[in-house]
Symmetry: C3
Subunit: 196 residues, 3 copies
Protein backbone atom coordinates (compact mmCIF):
# COMPACT_ATOMS: atom_id res chain seq x y z
CA UNK A 1 0.00 0.00 0.00
CA UNK A 2 2.99 2.30 0.33
CA UNK A 3 2.60 2.86 -3.38
CA UNK A 4 -0.79 4.58 -3.17
CA UNK A 5 -1.02 8.32 -3.61
CA UNK A 6 -1.82 10.22 -0.41
CA UNK A 7 -5.32 11.08 -1.56
CA UNK A 8 -6.07 7.43 -2.24
CA UNK A 9 -4.83 6.46 1.16
CA UNK A 10 -7.09 9.04 2.78
CA UNK A 11 -10.07 7.90 0.74
CA UNK A 12 -9.38 4.33 1.71
CA UNK A 13 -9.17 5.12 5.40
CA UNK A 14 -12.32 7.18 5.41
CA UNK A 15 -14.05 4.34 3.64
CA UNK A 16 -12.73 1.84 6.14
CA UNK A 17 -13.68 3.99 9.12
CA UNK A 18 -17.12 4.57 7.75
CA UNK A 19 -17.71 0.83 7.98
CA UNK A 20 -16.18 0.43 11.40
CA UNK A 21 -19.19 0.57 13.69
CA UNK A 22 -22.90 0.50 13.07
CA UNK A 23 -25.70 1.47 15.47
CA UNK A 24 -29.00 -0.11 14.51
CA UNK A 25 -27.69 -0.52 11.01
CA UNK A 26 -26.19 2.96 11.00
CA UNK A 27 -22.54 3.43 10.10
CA UNK A 28 -19.95 5.27 12.13
CA UNK A 29 -18.46 8.23 10.31
CA UNK A 30 -15.40 10.17 11.42
CA UNK A 31 -15.04 13.36 9.38
CA UNK A 32 -11.91 13.86 7.40
CA UNK A 33 -11.88 17.65 7.69
CA UNK A 34 -13.06 20.34 10.07
CA UNK A 35 -14.66 21.93 7.01
CA UNK A 36 -16.78 18.83 6.41
CA UNK A 37 -18.77 17.83 9.49
CA UNK A 38 -20.85 14.68 9.10
CA UNK A 39 -23.89 16.52 10.49
CA UNK A 40 -24.55 20.23 10.52
CA UNK A 41 -27.49 22.33 11.69
CA UNK A 42 -28.26 25.82 12.92
CA UNK A 43 -30.66 26.35 15.81
CA UNK A 44 -31.63 29.26 18.05
CA UNK A 45 -31.83 29.11 21.84
CA UNK A 46 -34.20 31.50 23.61
CA UNK A 47 -33.42 32.25 27.24
CA UNK A 48 -36.28 33.98 29.04
CA UNK A 49 -35.05 34.71 32.56
CA UNK A 50 -37.43 35.08 35.47
CA UNK A 51 -37.52 38.76 36.38
CA UNK A 52 -38.64 38.19 39.93
CA UNK A 53 -41.88 40.03 39.36
CA UNK A 54 -44.40 39.11 36.73
CA UNK A 55 -43.07 36.67 34.09
CA UNK A 56 -43.08 33.36 35.93
CA UNK A 57 -45.48 31.90 33.36
CA UNK A 58 -43.26 32.66 30.35
CA UNK A 59 -39.86 32.36 32.01
CA UNK A 60 -37.83 29.28 31.03
CA UNK A 61 -34.79 30.11 33.17
CA UNK A 62 -34.33 31.24 36.74
CA UNK A 63 -31.50 31.80 39.17
CA UNK A 64 -31.08 28.71 41.33
CA UNK A 65 -28.99 30.51 43.88
CA UNK A 66 -29.58 33.49 46.10
CA UNK A 67 -26.77 36.01 45.83
CA UNK A 68 -23.89 35.54 48.22
CA UNK A 69 -22.04 38.42 49.83
CA UNK A 70 -19.52 38.65 47.01
CA UNK A 71 -22.19 38.11 44.42
CA UNK A 72 -24.16 41.04 45.78
CA UNK A 73 -21.10 43.23 45.52
CA UNK A 74 -20.57 42.32 41.90
CA UNK A 75 -24.23 42.30 41.04
CA UNK A 76 -23.98 46.01 41.61
CA UNK A 77 -21.75 46.35 38.54
CA UNK A 78 -23.96 43.94 36.62
CA UNK A 79 -21.43 41.18 35.96
CA UNK A 80 -23.48 38.83 38.15
CA UNK A 81 -20.42 36.96 39.39
CA UNK A 82 -21.47 33.63 40.85
CA UNK A 83 -25.09 33.69 39.74
CA UNK A 84 -26.13 30.19 38.63
CA UNK A 85 -29.16 29.93 36.38
CA UNK A 86 -31.10 26.73 35.67
CA UNK A 87 -32.87 26.66 32.32
CA UNK A 88 -35.27 24.65 30.17
CA UNK A 89 -35.17 26.88 27.11
CA UNK A 90 -37.03 26.69 23.84
CA UNK A 91 -34.88 25.96 20.77
CA UNK A 92 -36.13 26.82 17.29
CA UNK A 93 -35.03 26.44 13.68
CA UNK A 94 -35.87 30.02 12.84
CA UNK A 95 -35.23 33.11 14.90
CA UNK A 96 -38.78 33.50 16.20
CA UNK A 97 -40.29 31.90 19.29
CA UNK A 98 -42.87 29.22 18.47
CA UNK A 99 -46.27 30.72 17.86
CA UNK A 100 -49.58 29.15 18.86
CA UNK A 101 -49.34 25.37 18.99
CA UNK A 102 -46.08 25.23 17.05
CA UNK A 103 -43.59 22.84 18.64
CA UNK A 104 -40.01 23.91 19.31
CA UNK A 105 -37.24 22.07 17.43
CA UNK A 106 -35.77 21.04 20.79
CA UNK A 107 -35.44 22.00 24.43
CA UNK A 108 -32.15 23.09 25.96
CA UNK A 109 -32.01 21.82 29.54
CA UNK A 110 -29.10 22.75 31.75
CA UNK A 111 -27.45 25.59 33.57
CA UNK A 112 -25.09 28.51 33.20
CA UNK A 113 -23.32 30.75 35.62
CA UNK A 114 -21.34 33.97 35.47
CA UNK A 115 -17.71 33.62 36.46
CA UNK A 116 -15.98 36.94 35.97
CA UNK A 117 -15.98 40.00 38.18
CA UNK A 118 -14.68 42.61 35.74
CA UNK A 119 -16.80 41.83 32.70
CA UNK A 120 -19.39 39.39 31.39
CA UNK A 121 -18.25 35.79 31.13
CA UNK A 122 -20.35 32.69 31.54
CA UNK A 123 -20.02 28.92 31.50
CA UNK A 124 -22.63 26.55 30.07
CA UNK A 125 -23.50 22.87 30.42
CA UNK A 126 -26.73 21.55 28.92
CA UNK A 127 -28.55 18.92 26.89
CA UNK A 128 -30.35 19.63 23.65
CA UNK A 129 -33.41 17.36 23.90
CA UNK A 130 -35.02 16.57 20.55
CA UNK A 131 -38.47 14.97 20.45
CA UNK A 132 -39.86 15.83 17.03
CA UNK A 133 -40.60 14.15 13.73
CA UNK A 134 -37.15 15.21 12.54
CA UNK A 135 -35.05 14.05 15.49
CA UNK A 136 -35.37 12.06 18.70
CA UNK A 137 -32.45 12.03 21.09
CA UNK A 138 -30.07 14.35 22.89
CA UNK A 139 -26.82 16.21 22.39
CA UNK A 140 -24.80 17.01 25.51
CA UNK A 141 -22.86 20.25 25.40
CA UNK A 142 -20.44 22.18 27.62
CA UNK A 143 -17.99 25.02 27.47
CA UNK A 144 -16.78 28.45 28.45
CA UNK A 145 -18.61 31.48 27.12
CA UNK A 146 -16.33 34.53 27.04
CA UNK A 147 -19.10 36.89 26.04
CA UNK A 148 -16.85 39.64 24.74
CA UNK A 149 -15.95 37.49 21.72
CA UNK A 150 -18.32 37.47 18.77
CA UNK A 151 -18.40 33.67 18.50
CA UNK A 152 -17.50 31.05 21.08
CA UNK A 153 -17.06 27.29 20.74
CA UNK A 154 -18.68 24.75 23.02
CA UNK A 155 -17.93 21.01 22.93
CA UNK A 156 -20.52 18.38 22.03
CA UNK A 157 -19.35 15.69 24.45
CA UNK A 158 -21.81 13.02 23.42
CA UNK A 159 -25.29 12.17 22.28
CA UNK A 160 -28.06 9.63 22.50
CA UNK A 161 -30.86 8.33 20.25
CA UNK A 162 -30.52 9.79 16.76
CA UNK A 163 -27.27 11.36 17.98
CA UNK A 164 -25.86 8.13 19.43
CA UNK A 165 -22.18 8.63 20.41
CA UNK A 166 -21.91 11.97 18.58
CA UNK A 167 -19.03 14.37 19.15
CA UNK A 168 -18.46 17.84 17.75
CA UNK A 169 -18.53 21.58 18.21
CA UNK A 170 -21.28 24.16 18.78
CA UNK A 171 -20.29 27.66 17.71
CA UNK A 172 -22.51 30.17 19.46
CA UNK A 173 -23.21 33.79 18.68
CA UNK A 174 -25.35 36.10 20.79
CA UNK A 175 -27.93 36.98 18.23
CA UNK A 176 -30.16 39.26 20.30
CA UNK A 177 -30.31 40.69 23.82
CA UNK A 178 -33.40 42.42 25.17
CA UNK A 179 -32.88 44.04 28.54
CA UNK A 180 -31.72 41.79 31.37
CA UNK A 181 -34.24 39.02 30.88
CA UNK A 182 -34.04 37.73 27.30
CA UNK A 183 -31.24 36.63 25.02
CA UNK A 184 -31.13 34.52 21.90
CA UNK A 185 -28.11 32.42 20.90
CA UNK A 186 -27.45 31.26 17.38
CA UNK A 187 -25.99 27.74 17.62
CA UNK A 188 -24.09 26.34 14.65
CA UNK A 189 -23.84 22.66 15.48
CA UNK A 190 -21.19 20.64 13.65
CA UNK A 191 -20.69 16.96 14.44
CA UNK A 192 -17.45 15.24 13.40
CA UNK A 193 -18.26 11.78 14.78
CA UNK A 194 -21.69 10.51 13.70
CA UNK A 195 -23.68 7.38 13.19
CA UNK A 196 -25.65 7.91 9.99
Amino acid sequence: MQGLAASSRIALVVFLLSMAAAADGRKRVVSSSSDEPCTKMTLYLHDILYNGVNNSQNATAAPATRPTALGTTYFSNNTFFGMLVVFNDLVTEGKELPSGNEKPAALAQGFYFYDKKETYAAWFCFSLVFNSAAHKGTLNVMGADPMDEDTRDFTVVGGTGDFFMARGIVTIHTDLVQGSFYFRLQMDIKLYECYV
Copy 2:
Protein backbone atom coordinates in the same frame (compact mmCIF):
# COMPACT_ATOMS: atom_id res chain seq x y z
CA MET B 1 -8.50 -4.83 -1.14
CA GLN B 2 -11.37 -3.63 -3.28
CA GLY B 3 -11.99 -7.27 -4.04
CA LEU B 4 -12.90 -8.26 -0.49
CA ALA B 5 -16.52 -8.91 0.37
CA ALA B 6 -18.12 -6.26 2.61
CA SER B 7 -18.19 -8.54 5.63
CA SER B 8 -14.49 -9.24 5.27
CA ARG B 9 -13.74 -5.57 5.03
CA ILE B 10 -15.66 -4.93 8.24
CA ALA B 11 -13.89 -7.74 10.04
CA LEU B 12 -10.57 -6.39 8.84
CA VAL B 13 -11.30 -2.89 10.05
CA VAL B 14 -12.53 -4.00 13.45
CA PHE B 15 -9.41 -6.08 13.74
CA LEU B 16 -7.24 -3.15 12.71
CA LEU B 17 -9.00 -0.76 15.07
CA SER B 18 -8.75 -3.21 17.92
CA MET B 19 -4.98 -2.95 17.56
CA ALA B 20 -4.88 0.77 17.19
CA ALA B 21 -4.15 1.95 20.70
CA ALA B 22 -3.14 0.18 23.85
CA ALA B 23 -3.21 1.50 27.42
CA ASP B 24 -0.85 -0.41 29.66
CA GLY B 25 -0.92 -3.24 27.20
CA ARG B 26 -4.69 -2.98 26.77
CA LYS B 27 -6.16 -2.71 23.29
CA ARG B 28 -8.57 -0.05 22.10
CA VAL B 29 -11.89 -1.46 20.94
CA VAL B 30 -14.54 0.48 19.05
CA SER B 31 -17.78 -1.49 18.91
CA SER B 32 -19.17 -2.37 15.54
CA SER B 33 -22.82 -2.31 16.64
CA SER B 34 -25.00 -0.57 19.21
CA ASP B 35 -26.20 -4.05 20.10
CA GLU B 36 -22.68 -5.14 21.00
CA PRO B 37 -21.08 -2.83 23.54
CA CYS B 38 -17.51 -3.70 24.45
CA THR B 39 -18.40 -3.46 28.16
CA LYS B 40 -21.80 -3.82 29.77
CA MET B 41 -22.97 -3.77 33.37
CA THR B 42 -26.08 -3.04 35.41
CA LEU B 43 -25.82 -1.11 38.66
CA TYR B 44 -28.28 0.55 41.05
CA LEU B 45 -27.92 4.08 42.41
CA HIS B 46 -29.50 4.86 45.78
CA ASP B 47 -30.30 8.51 46.44
CA ILE B 48 -31.12 9.22 50.08
CA LEU B 49 -32.00 12.90 50.30
CA TYR B 50 -31.59 14.87 53.50
CA ASN B 51 -35.08 15.50 54.88
CA GLY B 52 -34.09 18.53 56.88
CA VAL B 53 -34.99 16.87 60.15
CA ASN B 54 -33.53 13.61 61.33
CA ASN B 55 -31.64 11.67 58.62
CA SER B 56 -28.40 13.59 58.31
CA GLN B 57 -26.44 10.46 59.25
CA ASN B 58 -27.90 8.29 56.48
CA ALA B 59 -28.47 10.97 53.87
CA THR B 60 -26.08 10.84 50.88
CA ALA B 61 -27.62 13.80 49.03
CA ALA B 62 -28.68 17.27 50.07
CA PRO B 63 -29.90 20.45 48.42
CA ALA B 64 -26.95 22.79 47.90
CA THR B 65 -29.15 25.79 47.33
CA ARG B 66 -31.76 27.54 49.37
CA PRO B 67 -34.97 28.04 47.38
CA THR B 68 -35.22 31.25 45.41
CA ALA B 69 -38.44 33.21 45.05
CA LEU B 70 -39.45 31.33 41.91
CA GLY B 71 -38.30 28.05 43.34
CA THR B 72 -40.49 28.55 46.37
CA THR B 73 -43.48 29.13 44.13
CA TYR B 74 -42.86 25.92 42.25
CA PHE B 75 -41.89 23.93 45.30
CA SER B 76 -45.51 24.34 46.26
CA ASN B 77 -46.54 22.20 43.30
CA ASN B 78 -43.70 19.79 44.03
CA THR B 79 -41.79 20.15 40.77
CA PHE B 80 -38.88 21.69 42.70
CA PHE B 81 -37.86 23.93 39.81
CA GLY B 82 -34.33 25.17 40.35
CA MET B 83 -33.45 22.95 43.29
CA LEU B 84 -29.84 21.75 42.94
CA VAL B 85 -28.84 18.65 44.89
CA VAL B 86 -25.28 17.52 45.56
CA PHE B 87 -24.86 13.79 46.08
CA ASN B 88 -22.37 11.09 47.01
CA ASP B 89 -24.66 8.10 46.56
CA LEU B 90 -24.11 4.42 47.12
CA VAL B 91 -24.11 2.26 44.00
CA THR B 92 -24.73 -1.49 44.24
CA GLU B 93 -24.81 -4.52 41.97
CA GLY B 94 -28.07 -5.78 43.43
CA LYS B 95 -31.13 -3.77 44.36
CA GLU B 96 -30.49 -3.69 48.10
CA LEU B 97 -28.42 -1.19 50.03
CA PRO B 98 -25.17 -2.65 51.37
CA SER B 99 -25.70 -4.40 54.68
CA GLY B 100 -23.26 -4.45 57.56
CA ASN B 101 -19.68 -4.05 56.37
CA GLU B 102 -20.51 -4.83 52.75
CA LYS B 103 -18.83 -2.40 50.37
CA PRO B 104 -20.80 -0.66 47.63
CA ALA B 105 -19.85 -1.45 44.02
CA ALA B 106 -19.14 2.25 43.48
CA LEU B 107 -20.00 5.74 44.62
CA ALA B 108 -21.88 8.18 42.41
CA GLN B 109 -20.54 11.68 43.09
CA GLY B 110 -22.15 14.65 41.41
CA PHE B 111 -25.27 16.75 41.27
CA TYR B 112 -28.72 17.01 39.79
CA PHE B 113 -31.25 19.77 39.56
CA TYR B 114 -34.90 20.09 38.60
CA ASP B 115 -35.50 22.20 35.52
CA LYS B 116 -39.18 22.13 34.67
CA LYS B 117 -42.03 24.07 36.21
CA GLU B 118 -44.99 22.05 34.95
CA THR B 119 -43.79 18.53 35.70
CA TYR B 120 -40.79 16.59 36.97
CA ALA B 121 -37.66 16.88 34.88
CA ALA B 122 -34.09 16.75 36.08
CA TRP B 123 -30.55 17.01 34.76
CA PHE B 124 -27.61 14.95 36.04
CA CYS B 125 -23.84 15.17 35.95
CA PHE B 126 -21.74 12.80 38.04
CA SER B 127 -18.81 10.43 38.32
CA LEU B 128 -19.12 6.74 39.11
CA VAL B 129 -16.10 6.13 41.35
CA PHE B 130 -15.03 2.49 41.53
CA ASN B 131 -12.56 1.36 44.18
CA SER B 132 -13.13 -2.35 44.59
CA ALA B 133 -11.45 -5.62 43.74
CA ALA B 134 -13.47 -5.71 40.52
CA HIS B 135 -12.81 -2.17 39.24
CA LYS B 136 -10.66 0.85 40.02
CA GLY B 137 -11.35 4.05 38.12
CA THR B 138 -14.15 6.38 37.19
CA LEU B 139 -16.83 6.87 34.56
CA ASN B 140 -18.03 10.42 33.95
CA VAL B 141 -21.68 10.78 33.03
CA MET B 142 -24.10 13.55 32.06
CA GLY B 143 -27.51 14.05 30.55
CA ALA B 144 -31.10 15.18 30.71
CA ASP B 145 -33.58 13.20 32.76
CA PRO B 146 -37.13 13.70 31.47
CA MET B 147 -38.70 11.74 34.31
CA ASP B 148 -42.00 11.09 32.57
CA GLU B 149 -40.28 8.62 30.20
CA ASP B 150 -39.74 5.07 31.40
CA THR B 151 -36.08 4.99 30.37
CA ARG B 152 -33.71 7.86 29.68
CA ASP B 153 -30.21 7.87 28.17
CA PHE B 154 -27.22 9.64 29.67
CA THR B 155 -23.84 9.98 27.96
CA VAL B 156 -20.64 8.44 29.32
CA VAL B 157 -18.28 11.23 28.31
CA GLY B 158 -15.08 9.60 29.49
CA GLY B 159 -13.37 7.45 32.04
CA THR B 160 -10.17 6.90 33.95
CA GLY B 161 -8.26 3.96 35.43
CA ASP B 162 -9.90 0.68 34.39
CA PHE B 163 -12.23 2.80 32.26
CA PHE B 164 -9.45 4.79 30.57
CA MET B 165 -10.87 6.85 27.68
CA ALA B 166 -14.24 5.04 27.76
CA ARG B 167 -17.31 6.37 25.97
CA GLY B 168 -20.86 5.07 25.92
CA ILE B 169 -24.42 5.31 27.14
CA VAL B 170 -26.14 4.83 30.51
CA THR B 171 -29.81 3.95 30.22
CA ILE B 172 -31.56 4.78 33.47
CA HIS B 173 -34.89 3.61 34.82
CA THR B 174 -36.45 4.80 38.07
CA ASP B 175 -36.69 1.50 39.84
CA LEU B 176 -38.21 2.64 43.14
CA VAL B 177 -39.39 5.84 44.78
CA GLN B 178 -40.17 6.04 48.48
CA GLY B 179 -41.74 9.34 49.52
CA SER B 180 -39.77 12.49 48.80
CA PHE B 181 -36.44 11.35 50.19
CA TYR B 182 -35.40 8.10 48.50
CA PHE B 183 -35.19 6.90 44.92
CA ARG B 184 -33.31 4.07 43.25
CA LEU B 185 -32.14 4.22 39.63
CA GLN B 186 -31.34 1.15 37.58
CA MET B 187 -28.36 2.03 35.39
CA ASP B 188 -27.63 -0.10 32.32
CA ILE B 189 -24.12 0.96 31.37
CA LYS B 190 -22.97 0.19 27.82
CA LEU B 191 -19.54 1.28 26.64
CA TYR B 192 -18.79 1.43 22.91
CA GLU B 193 -15.20 2.64 23.16
CA CYS B 194 -13.09 0.60 25.58
CA TYR B 195 -9.54 -0.38 26.37
CA VAL B 196 -9.65 -4.07 27.26
Copy 3:
Protein backbone atom coordinates in the same frame (compact mmCIF):
# COMPACT_ATOMS: atom_id res chain seq x y z
CA MET C 1 -2.15 -8.60 4.90
CA GLN C 2 -2.58 -11.54 7.24
CA GLY C 3 1.07 -12.23 6.58
CA LEU C 4 2.35 -9.04 8.20
CA ALA C 5 4.00 -9.23 11.58
CA ALA C 6 1.96 -7.76 14.43
CA SER C 7 4.24 -4.77 14.80
CA SER C 8 3.87 -3.94 11.11
CA ARG C 9 0.12 -4.15 11.36
CA ILE C 10 0.12 -1.75 14.30
CA ALA C 11 2.40 0.66 12.50
CA LEU C 12 0.16 0.48 9.46
CA VAL C 13 -2.97 1.21 11.47
CA VAL C 14 -1.46 4.11 13.34
CA PHE C 15 -0.30 5.48 10.05
CA LEU C 16 -3.75 5.05 8.54
CA LEU C 17 -5.50 6.60 11.53
CA SER C 18 -3.10 9.50 11.52
CA MET C 19 -4.39 10.36 8.07
CA ALA C 20 -8.05 9.79 8.86
CA ALA C 21 -9.27 13.27 9.59
CA ALA C 22 -7.70 16.66 9.20
CA ALA C 23 -8.85 19.93 10.76
CA ASP C 24 -7.55 22.92 8.86
CA GLY C 25 -4.89 20.72 7.39
CA ARG C 26 -4.15 19.09 10.71
CA LYS C 27 -4.17 15.31 11.02
CA ARG C 28 -6.12 13.27 13.53
CA VAL C 29 -3.92 11.19 15.81
CA VAL C 30 -5.15 8.44 18.11
CA SER C 31 -2.39 7.38 20.49
CA SER C 32 -1.28 3.79 20.43
CA SER C 33 -0.34 3.65 24.11
CA SER C 34 -1.32 5.30 27.39
CA ASP C 35 2.39 5.92 27.83
CA GLU C 36 2.54 7.96 24.63
CA PRO C 37 -0.03 10.76 24.61
CA CYS C 38 -0.11 12.81 21.42
CA THR C 39 0.03 16.02 23.49
CA LYS C 40 1.38 16.48 26.98
CA MET C 41 1.78 19.51 29.22
CA THR C 42 2.00 20.40 32.89
CA LEU C 43 0.19 23.45 34.22
CA TYR C 44 -0.64 24.85 37.65
CA LEU C 45 -4.08 26.05 38.73
CA HIS C 46 -4.27 28.69 41.46
CA ASP C 47 -7.54 28.88 43.37
CA ILE C 48 -7.87 32.02 45.47
CA LEU C 49 -11.14 31.75 47.35
CA TYR C 50 -13.02 34.81 48.54
CA ASN C 51 -12.62 34.96 52.32
CA GLY C 52 -15.73 37.01 52.87
CA VAL C 53 -13.76 39.89 54.30
CA ASN C 54 -10.99 41.64 52.47
CA ASN C 55 -9.72 39.79 49.38
CA SER C 56 -12.46 40.44 46.84
CA GLN C 57 -9.94 42.13 44.53
CA ASN C 58 -7.58 39.15 44.37
CA ALA C 59 -10.10 36.35 44.76
CA THR C 60 -10.75 34.29 41.62
CA ALA C 61 -13.24 31.90 43.22
CA ALA C 62 -16.24 32.36 45.45
CA PRO C 63 -19.04 30.27 46.89
CA ALA C 64 -22.10 30.60 44.68
CA THR C 65 -24.41 29.20 47.30
CA ARG C 66 -25.32 30.20 50.79
CA PRO C 67 -25.02 27.28 53.22
CA THR C 68 -28.14 25.19 53.66
CA ALA C 69 -29.15 23.68 56.99
CA LEU C 70 -27.20 20.49 56.40
CA GLY C 71 -24.30 22.40 54.92
CA THR C 72 -24.06 24.50 58.05
CA THR C 73 -23.92 21.39 60.17
CA TYR C 74 -21.08 19.97 58.17
CA PHE C 75 -19.30 23.25 57.73
CA SER C 76 -18.66 22.98 61.43
CA ASN C 77 -16.40 19.98 60.81
CA ASN C 78 -14.84 21.72 57.82
CA THR C 79 -15.86 19.25 55.13
CA PHE C 80 -18.03 21.94 53.53
CA PHE C 81 -20.59 19.41 52.28
CA GLY C 82 -22.72 20.98 49.59
CA MET C 83 -20.69 24.16 49.11
CA LEU C 84 -20.52 25.04 45.40
CA VAL C 85 -17.73 27.37 44.29
CA VAL C 86 -17.59 29.20 40.96
CA PHE C 87 -14.09 30.03 39.75
CA ASN C 88 -12.13 31.82 37.08
CA ASP C 89 -8.67 30.82 38.19
CA LEU C 90 -5.26 31.72 36.88
CA VAL C 91 -3.28 28.87 35.29
CA THR C 92 0.48 29.09 34.93
CA GLU C 93 3.33 27.08 33.44
CA GLY C 94 5.48 27.48 36.53
CA LYS C 95 4.42 27.27 40.14
CA GLU C 96 4.32 31.00 40.79
CA LEU C 97 1.43 33.36 40.22
CA PRO C 98 2.01 35.75 37.30
CA SER C 99 3.97 38.80 38.38
CA GLY C 100 3.47 42.32 37.08
CA ASN C 101 2.07 42.32 33.57
CA GLU C 102 2.90 38.67 32.93
CA LYS C 103 0.01 36.85 31.31
CA PRO C 104 -1.23 33.51 32.67
CA ALA C 105 -0.87 30.45 30.42
CA ALA C 106 -4.64 29.98 30.61
CA LEU C 107 -7.72 30.60 32.71
CA ALA C 108 -9.66 27.78 34.36
CA GLN C 109 -13.35 28.68 34.30
CA GLY C 110 -15.84 26.42 36.03
CA PHE C 111 -17.04 25.19 39.37
CA TYR C 112 -16.41 22.67 42.09
CA PHE C 113 -18.38 21.49 45.07
CA TYR C 114 -17.74 19.41 48.15
CA ASP C 115 -19.75 16.19 48.28
CA LYS C 116 -18.71 14.22 51.33
CA LYS C 117 -19.73 14.66 54.94
CA GLU C 118 -17.04 12.64 56.67
CA THR C 119 -13.95 13.91 54.86
CA TYR C 120 -12.84 16.17 52.02
CA ALA C 121 -14.07 15.17 48.59
CA ALA C 122 -14.85 17.45 45.71
CA TRP C 123 -16.12 17.32 42.14
CA PHE C 124 -14.87 19.57 39.33
CA CYS C 125 -16.10 20.68 35.94
CA PHE C 126 -14.30 23.44 34.07
CA SER C 127 -12.80 24.79 30.87
CA LEU C 128 -9.15 25.62 30.41
CA VAL C 129 -9.28 28.73 28.24
CA PHE C 130 -6.06 29.43 26.33
CA ASN C 131 -5.54 32.78 24.65
CA SER C 132 -1.80 33.18 24.30
CA ALA C 133 0.86 33.10 21.62
CA ALA C 134 1.36 29.41 22.37
CA HIS C 135 -2.27 28.23 22.31
CA LYS C 136 -5.72 29.50 21.44
CA GLY C 137 -8.70 27.33 22.32
CA THR C 138 -10.22 25.42 25.18
CA LEU C 139 -10.06 22.05 26.90
CA ASN C 140 -13.19 20.90 28.75
CA VAL C 141 -12.57 18.85 31.86
CA MET C 142 -14.63 17.03 34.48
CA GLY C 143 -14.26 14.47 37.23
CA ALA C 144 -14.37 13.41 40.83
CA ASP C 145 -11.70 14.66 43.21
CA PRO C 146 -11.27 12.27 46.16
CA MET C 147 -8.86 14.55 47.96
CA ASP C 148 -7.40 11.89 50.24
CA GLU C 149 -5.59 10.33 47.26
CA ASP C 150 -2.28 11.81 46.19
CA THR C 151 -3.24 12.02 42.51
CA ARG C 152 -6.68 11.98 40.90
CA ASP C 153 -7.67 11.66 37.25
CA PHE C 154 -10.13 13.95 35.51
CA THR C 155 -11.44 13.40 31.98
CA VAL C 156 -10.75 15.80 29.10
CA VAL C 157 -14.12 15.45 27.39
CA GLY C 158 -13.38 17.68 24.43
CA GLY C 159 -11.67 20.75 23.11
CA THR C 160 -11.93 23.61 20.68
CA GLY C 161 -9.55 25.76 18.63
CA ASP C 162 -6.00 24.42 18.89
CA PHE C 163 -7.48 21.56 20.89
CA PHE C 164 -10.21 20.75 18.35
CA MET C 165 -11.95 17.45 19.28
CA ALA C 166 -9.29 16.54 21.86
CA ARG C 167 -9.81 13.81 24.43
CA GLY C 168 -7.60 12.69 27.29
CA ILE C 169 -6.82 12.68 30.98
CA VAL C 170 -5.75 15.34 33.48
CA THR C 171 -3.93 13.93 36.49
CA ILE C 172 -4.12 16.41 39.35
CA HIS C 173 -2.04 16.68 42.48
CA THR C 174 -2.64 19.19 45.27
CA ASP C 175 0.66 20.94 45.16
CA LEU C 176 0.12 23.53 47.90
CA VAL C 177 -2.58 24.54 50.37
CA GLN C 178 -2.41 27.78 52.33
CA GLY C 179 -5.11 28.07 54.98
CA SER C 180 -8.70 27.86 53.80
CA PHE C 181 -8.44 30.31 50.93
CA TYR C 182 -5.67 29.22 48.55
CA PHE C 183 -4.73 25.97 46.89
CA ARG C 184 -2.59 25.13 43.89
CA LEU C 185 -3.18 22.08 41.71
CA GLN C 186 -0.53 20.55 39.49
CA MET C 187 -2.28 19.39 36.31
CA ASP C 188 -0.54 16.82 34.10
CA ILE C 189 -2.53 17.00 30.89
CA LYS C 190 -2.26 14.07 28.50
CA LEU C 191 -4.27 13.98 25.30
CA TYR C 192 -4.77 10.68 23.46
CA GLU C 193 -6.89 12.01 20.61
CA CYS C 194 -5.40 15.08 18.93
CA TYR C 195 -5.38 17.02 15.71
CA VAL C 196 -1.77 18.01 15.10
